[in-house]
Amino acid sequence: MPKAIGLITCNYTTASKDDVFSGRPVASMPYLGRYRLVDFALSNLVNAGIRNVGMIMPNNYRSLVDHVGSGKDWDLDRKNGGLFIMPGTAFGTSRTGARFLIRDLVQNREFFTKNKEKYVVLSTANFICSVDVKKLIADHEASGANITVLCKRASCDGNIDVVTFETEDGRVKSMNQGVKFNQLAFLDYAVIERELLLELLDSFAAIDHLDLFEALNSEYGRFRVMVAEFEGYMKPIFDKNSYFKANIDLLDEDVLTEFASGTPIKTKAHDNPPAKYEPGCKVSNSLIASGDRIYGSVQGSVLGRNVIVEPGASVRNAVLMQGVVVKTGAKIENAIIDKNNVVPAGTELRGTDGDILYLKKH
């Protein structure tokens, strides 16, 4: 029997007002041509042998349920256990930073009582990273901590949505919002004993509007919360620019190799033909998903499934989500084009390096 159950909270918004997140929950945001952001948390949990995963859903859950289905593509269609689709509280977490809202956990207390595994692995869907959760649990056991949080030292100032921990000898002293250079950024992966989590939920019942780690701020002296440091490619996604960069980053062969060297990321299977490169097309430094048909020119871009780039069209430094059609002679540069948009013949859609153009879902 696996040692742990997994929880993914998918029901929070970001501080960013970028409309790139307006059409769907962050968890079902398409990524790298064929994934949804939630695939990373799901795959990381499942790759560690976890077969009981609860997902706390946002109000606009349609796209997310459509994607995960019965959990089959992650081996979560089990006779016992498997995937649990669970409700979030009425108003969701509209506040910055709260991603493990206590009232969401309390509302789904049954998930933590009916499953008897020793640990709970908490996670969210905002971080692109391939995490060895098995090792995280082993580290947790070896250190004898009450809670182990996965962190990475920030290489630059970062987003207000990212949580950071102040530590002393690897032990957490306090938790804060927003990340500055060299601080320990929380990757939203944590291991906690199931019984302890239940105790905490009971004792924090009066302050259930807080995030679990926020509520622990007065208790870090009492509980040993230890940091496990993450190595490998990691990208938090909380706004348009970080989303764009997390796609384009992967066009570097070294980054791509590092990304691909982690455990495999599973996603929903689709029946697309292979991508078809027509005679005379020009493609370089790009990621091209199956079902694409390319007649024109594609450079430095990430193309989702079933994209068509017609003759004479050009796509540069852009992220095209599934089903986008770029008509003859159209030009796209420095842009994110959301699902199923048809870019008319001869039109130009250009952003700049600093201000990426976003065309919302059609």
Partner: protein, 371 residues
């Protein structure tokens, strides 16, 4: 009933480790995908797959049949390899014998009609339409046929028919054909007739237990109502290395005769979920099919590239078919070749040439520089 036990010996090293229906095709598929997708798209939900030669990969690939929406509680895919009984065990001796040995399965399905298929052909057909013809003719057996060029007719089983499509004579590989309607090896039988005929044929010591050679001539002699169903679209039996290569190349170009992208009858496959293909900064791809999970750092022209293929820097791949996991190392040149699964052409090595016949490299085989 889908016959998928054939070795496909004329494909040489390509079938040294897998059965012909499990051979990779078109960058994303295995040959059996086309027939299974036809079944699913025609509303057939019960398919018995008869396997025999090197069945492991085929069995694994078929799984529960869910990739083709054939994982049904009542029916779905049943894998039917040869088996032992109280009186002994035997291999499938012919196409008809394979069905005869599985009459227990067939009778258990309580079907009115039985469609007999081959797992090694490429075509899109709506079997519903063929069944409608069968019913309209009040036929006992309907044989799918297609017109072939007259000069090729002596290589096929030829049906000589009346104007209304009723079969009057069946001649296997006639020297002087009277018709150019070739049997495609696709049959619809009335189930009771099939079961009874197979039981009788089983007792005939002179029979080779083959549909074309024995069953059809016997039914004709017995005066049964045998009709043809004419099929005029794309159909290929990829029996040889040359025809296999040609059928893959026919998927390329601006308007291929067989369109993998046709929406109304999608070809489904049991593929794994992989990241999109990466075309490197110095990589270039022209007139090709490339599946997910590939990294193309060199040049690919007029080729079919399956999942997780790696083409190294300054490497050239042209007029070739690369099966899943094949590796062309830096500076290697692969021309007019078929590289089977996980095969490797080492850095700087050359494999194949435009002036000679298509060369093949078996599963896991390696070509060193200077070989």
């Amino acid at each position: 009933m889908l016959l998928a036990g054939g070795q496909g010996s004329r494909l040489g090293v390509l079938t040294s480790k897998v059965a012909k229906p499990a051979v990779s095709f078109g960058g994303k598929y295995r040959i059996i995908d086309f027939v299974l997708s036809n079944c699913a798209n025609s509303g057939i939900s019960t398919v018995g797959v008869l396997t025999q030669y090197r069945p492991y990969l085929l069995h694994e690939y078929l799984g529960t049949g869910e990739a083709w929406n054939l994982d049904e509680r009542d029916g779905g895919v049943a894998i039917l390899p040869p088996f032992a009984t109280q009186t002994g065990a035997s291999w499938y001796a012919g196409t008809a014998d394979a069905i005869t040995q599985n009459l227990g399965y067939l009778e258990g399905q309580d079907a009115e009609y039985v469609l007999i298929l081959s797992g090694d052909q490429l075509y899109r057909m709506d079997y519903e339409d063929m069944l409608a013809t069968h019913k309209a003719n009040n036929a006992d057996l309907t044989v799918a046929v297609m017109p072939v060029p007259w000069e090729d007719a002596p290589r096929f089983g030829i049906m000589n028919c009346a104007d209304d499509g009723r079969i009057e004579e069946f001649v296997e590989k006639p020297a002087e054909p009277k018709s150019n309607l070739a049997s495609m090896g696709i049959y619809i039988f009335n189930a009771d007739l099939l079961i009874n005929t197979l039981k009788e044929d089983d007792k005939d010591p002179d029979s080779t237990h083959d549909f074309g050679g024995d069953i059809i001539p016997k039914l004709l002699a017995a005066g049964k109502r045998l009709y043809t169903y004419q099929f005029k679209a794309y159909w290929r039996d990829v029996g040889t290395v040359a025809s296999f290569h040609e059928a893959n190349m026919e998927l390329l170009g601006a308007e291929p005769e067989f369109d993998l992208f046709a929406q109304d009858a999608p070809i489904m496959s049991n593929s794994s979920t992989l990241p999109p293909a990466y075309v490197g900064p110095k990589g270039s791809v022209d007139d090709s099919l490339v599946d997910n999970g590939c990294a193309i750092m060199g040049t690919v022209e007029h080729s079919v590239i399956s999942a997780e293929v790696y083409v190294g820097k300054n490497a050239i791949v042209k007029d070739s078919i690369l099966f899943p996991g094949a590796i062309v190392e830096d500076g290697a040149v692969v021309i007019n070749a078929i590289m089977a699964e996980r095969s490797v052409v080492k850095a700087g090595a050359h494999f194949g040439s435009a002036d000679e016949e298509t060369v093949t490299l078996g599963d896991d085989a390696v070509v060193e520089k200077g070989e």
